[in-house]
Symmetry: C2
Subunit: 530 residues, 2 copies
């Protein structure tokens, strides 16, 4: 049994899928897993002669905080990539493929043309001057030009100026309109904050909530490691609730009672629950009934709901498993639940990760708390303006009859269909492997297959002090160039092993990707099969 | 005496300018100063029926954290602006002027053309395609086109992808080259992290250093309130050292010994000193000798130096008071001092505040600490890519003989000369007022005049529970439309009163700006003169 499993199993009782591991609030092993040669990639030679700052003297929360998505695997993958670029012949492949992170445009996904056209024009407003108009009209469609003029008018002439702390009023209004259109319930721009990606929004809200080290936040397991990292950082306790792999990572809401009661009986002051829907890393999409139950659970327990909905348009079975926002369900129930919802331009079909745009919506949050969250936004001045503008374009795209509508629609639909196809293809490939099983992606950008690792391999890893899934993933990287994230980075039922892979590589790479993985896994099984 | 002065004077002994006030680590009065009508601007009507989140239940550090630059004054100024836009005739002016924040492009400063041309091209790489080349060549100079191609090649095709956690390797290399060129000493890209403005960098380093509530960080008074806000946020103590107004806000380094000893005698674990050079809000520029002394002080006391150098090119007396970087002075002294330096695209002549680009350089920082700072960067994925690219252009601008060089040079020099002129004009205007004195700006973007407020006015404010400089500034706003920040937001010697004003309004607004201020102050003095 792995180190994590050993620690976590302390409270693994009665075969309940709901356990409260006595573990630090994060799972991966970032700093310790760096070999000295790997770690040299991130520091240079100007070492101090006599350090006053040492790992023991600094903030121990950030020291122990861990974040698997960008841990030892991708650092090794970047090293391999550099080796390959320098002409190394030491590998059986000629490029690394970064499936560790949902970064579509790194894997050749084309940006949405209209978004880029508007961004290009607002960057250099001279393009809109009369004297340049003939060239500009030859290069840009009429509606992109008009939109750029609108944007420049609402930013007050330059995208280079700070905006108000929570973002441009006009963009917050667009977001509110989008939410109303999506849900059928009112939304106010005063409840919207524009942020540097959804990550910036999640961090801000968690920092707001965590008042002292007795505070616990319920998080799904498996989870996106931003949550465990942030809880370690802010000094709170993760209170894990397990998703059910056998029902396509569904949620057994009735089990939440036991989780919260167990936590409270240990003196943990549970203040909030995080729900990621569609799920990361699981790809599960919650049913409406589940969501109603969660809201009622929050009401009953007087806890705040954090709804991470960044994959709301990445839904691949829209008939059986449509996306509903928690805001909508809360409004339908006329619930007083206090809620923060998060969305982003990094995911969906837009995939503008590097632009760092996102927003949070507050629902049923008191004026006093809103003022404090406003002040928190103020200290960092504002989120970046081009990210704000991209949020506006995401929520307010070209409309039917606009010159750009046809192309926009083709691009969105093309990316959507291709993502769906690739998710199915990769899922099928995983399911064909010996000792592997993979639930289909109902949503998001990831698959999270389970591998039943041979005991011979698990014992070997244990004797070497290694995490079996981390070791398996590292071997896969060395053999195939494909970088994934081991399940231990997200949390998993002790004794089970998974990894998370995006299905974002371009279609033309897919057959090769699957074939090399197939070969690796077969050879791995031949070596370690019991 | 004001509330701050009363509290601070507890330890104001022996007429020393160096005092250690027993105050919370911030000075302004953000949330409490909002009237209910003002605060309604930042929240809407969907109030909760029965809140579980209350000001008492949340993180008390963020609750008490204060940030004057965006406090009650600018909120009121925005309200006035909205009134004016809605046609109100209630004011003696027709627009508000935001001198509370160094936001040049909000006040009509033109962006640097080359930076915007490259940004525009990388946003929409179709402009670089063969079929568009004739139009593109008509709109963009050759070197902007070439630079855009270079950028797209080093970002790996799209500005919409996440970069590595600490930023693009090529940009970090450019920054290292720039630093080497500036200082004459080596710099390594492995010591550079690209961040969302310098604020993001400062927050990251302070969070790293602050290990527990006994930690103290020495900060100048007056200071930029990011520091006090962040120290409250991370739970550390501000250990103030006072700048000397009578020597143009110079630093009396010998007095630092008393400050640190007093703090340590009270059980404060002083770990670091912040130096802002050129100074904000003071405009002072440190002498080389001062800097050497500060470095030796850090060595002797084994504390870490944080060098906020975002105004390094805003230096208006380059012969008498040139800018030197702390990195250079430390290298000249071959000092082992552990140091973080900060720079930004928001200031200088570039003024791209809304783009949120900046960097930190680590010097003499141990590999273990660098790894932890790298991990901190990872959790938020990366700083925004267009901000990173702007950093590259800032540190690597067009060169002599490049087609864009002439225009670039004209733009930079034009902004520089105008800033210098405006700083002198405003300083002269302040110095002509009764009971006011203002030190010239040696650097940065601000003046910080002192007003000897009539005792009649001070008594009146005290009896109403108001800060006199806050009240004076609010009256100025209501009378002139000019929004400044009261000195209490930055800290000041108890019993003295100041405000900070940028000198960024466009030259054509200056005479009007000065005339309305003149009128306001005369009438204020007539009313309250002793």
């Amino acid at each position: 049994m792995s180190k994590l499993a050993t620690i976590a199993s302390v409270s693994f009782r009665n075969n309940s899928p709901y356990i409260l591991p006595q573990i630090r609030s994060s799972f991966s092993r970032f700093p310790k897993m760096l070999s000295s040669s790997q770690s040299s990639a991130i520091h240079s030679s100007n070492s101090p002669r006599n350090s006053t700052m040492t790992p023991d003297s600094i903030n121990q929360r950030v020291r122990t905080m861990e974040y698997a998505v960008r841990g030892a695997l991708p650092i090794r993958a970047e090293q391999i990539q550099r080796d390959l670029e320098a002409g190394s012949k030491d590998y059986n492949f000629n490029k690394t493929i970064f499936c560790n992170i949902g970064n579509p445009q790194q894997l050749e996904q084309k940006p949405i043309t209209f978004l880029r056209q508007v961004s290009s024009l607002v960057e250099y407003p001279e393009l809109l001057s009369l004297e340049n108009s003939s060239h500009t009209k030859a290069l840009f469609p009429e509606d992109a030009i008009q939109r750029a003029k609108d944007v420049l008018s609402y930013v007050g002439s330059s995208v280079g100026a700070y905006t108000g702390s929570t973002g441009l009023p006009k963009v917050r209004q667009s977001v509110a309109n989008f939410i109303k259109q999506r849900d059928g319930f009112e939304s106010s721009p005063d409840n919207i904050q524009l942020t540097n990606g959804a990550s910036g929004a999640v961090e801000r809200v968690l920092e707001l909530i965590v008042s002292d080290p007795s505070v616990g936040i319920m998080i799904p397991i498996p989870q996106y490691p931003l949550y465990t990292a942030s809880l370690t950082r802010f000094g709170a306790q993760a209170v894990p609730y397990y998703l059910n792999e056998s029902t396509d990572w569904g949620m057994d809401v009735s089990g939440l009672d036991k989780v919260i009661n167990d936590a409270r009986s240990k003196g943990i002051n549970v203040k909030s629950i995080v729900v990621i829907n569609p799920g990361n890393p699981t790809g599960g999409v919650l049913s409406e009934q589940n969501m109603q139950e969660i809201i009622k659970f929050c009401e009953k327990e007087k806890i705040v709901l954090l709804a991470d909905e960044v994959y709301q348009t990445n839904v691949y079975m829209p008939d059986q498993k449509p996306f509903h926002s928690f805001k909508k369900i809360a409004c339908q129930l006329d619930s007083p639940v206090e809620m923060f919802s998060f969305h982003s331009i990094s995911k969906g079909m837009i995939g503008e990760c590097g632009r760092r745009g996102g927003y949070l919506e507050m629902h049923n949050i008191s004026p006093e708390i809103k003022e404090i969250l406003f002040k928190m936004a103020s200290v960092s001045l504002c989120s970046n303006v081009l990210g704000q503008i991209a949020v506006d374009i995401m929520v307010n795209p070209p409309k039917p009859n606009d010159p750009s509508y046809k192309l926009y629609n083709e691009e969105i639909n093309g990316i959507y269909s291709s993502l769906k196809l690739r998710s199915q293809k990769l899922c099928d490939a995983f399911n064909k492997q010996e000792n592997m099983s993979c639930r289909p992606a109902q949503g998001a950008m990831y698959l999270f297959p389970q591998i039943v690792l041979p005991s011979k391999f698990v014992e070997k890893c244990k004797s070497e002090g290694k995490e079996p899934d981390q070791e398996y993933s590292m071997m896969m990287l060395e053999a195939t160039g494909v970088c994934v994230v081991p399940g231990s980075g997200f949390g998993q039922v002790p004794g089970t092993y998974h990894f998370r892979s995006t299905f974002l590589p371009p279609e033309r790479d897919f057959d090769n990707f699957i074939a090399t993985f197939d070969k690796f896994h077969s050879s791995f099984m031949s070596e370690f099969r019991n």
